[in-house]
Amino acid sequence: MADESTFKQDLLGAIPSLRAFAMSLAQNADKADDLVQETLVKAWDKQASFQMGTNLKAWVFTILRNEFYSQMRKRGREVQDSDGVITARLAVHPAQQGSLDLDDFRAALETLPEDQREAIILIGASGFSYEEAAEICDCAVGTIKSRVSRARSRLQEILNVSGEADYGPDAISAQVMGSNAA
């Protein structure tokens, strides 16, 4: 069937984004790829329920997200102690002004609660609209907005960057102004 091979091609095309989203959620490559695998199987089995012409990426993101949370719930009962690992990562070294390291950013992102992390990823990185993100997360648009906003504030706080647009290599003048203010 032509439709089926199109569906397969579209699924294949969504894999890189799916893996990125899975990594953002699971923070572990093996778990992320297991999630993607499970998602692909589920998506394939549910393909009759996918409406052609609608956003396949949003659809598979929804499946992956549901899978992630159902696995989390299962694991939560098994190994509650692993939460301590996340807390330990909280100690992020504040970035030097103007040169925010990607590893620092990654560590800061890991400290966010899942709901905030997924919201800021969907909006700020995956390219979804607030409406689409709300649908993926099965919540109100306003909820997504407030999660994104809290996530952003938290990251700014941890990473010690200002909320306003920064002007690139202006770190020196920022430092000068900073010392004046102090």
Partner: protein, 72 residues
């Protein structure tokens, strides 16, 4: 006179609001993109293409089963 707040807020629009807070002009927005793009550009293991192939092959026998939902 009055601070022209409505003009500043009104000029943003929906998309503008997002790019304002997480766009390429913000450090957080840039890092978020960088973080994510690095993940997206990661090489995809063959197991996923293999899996889809398997799923597709599995369907073959039931190819004759046509949707007959019109009557319902």
């Amino acid at each position: 006179m009055k601070p022209n707040m409505s003009a500043a807020a009104g000029g943003q629009g929906k998309a503008g609001n997002r790019s304002d807070t997480l766009g390429p002009n913000t450090e957080i927005g840039r890092k978020l993109k960088q973080y994510y793009d690095e993940l997206v550009s990661d090489d995809v293991p063959d197991r996923f293409a293999d899996l889809l192939k398997q799923l597709e092959d599995r369907e073959e026998p039931s190819l004759s089963r046509e949707p007959e939902r019109e009557g319902k």
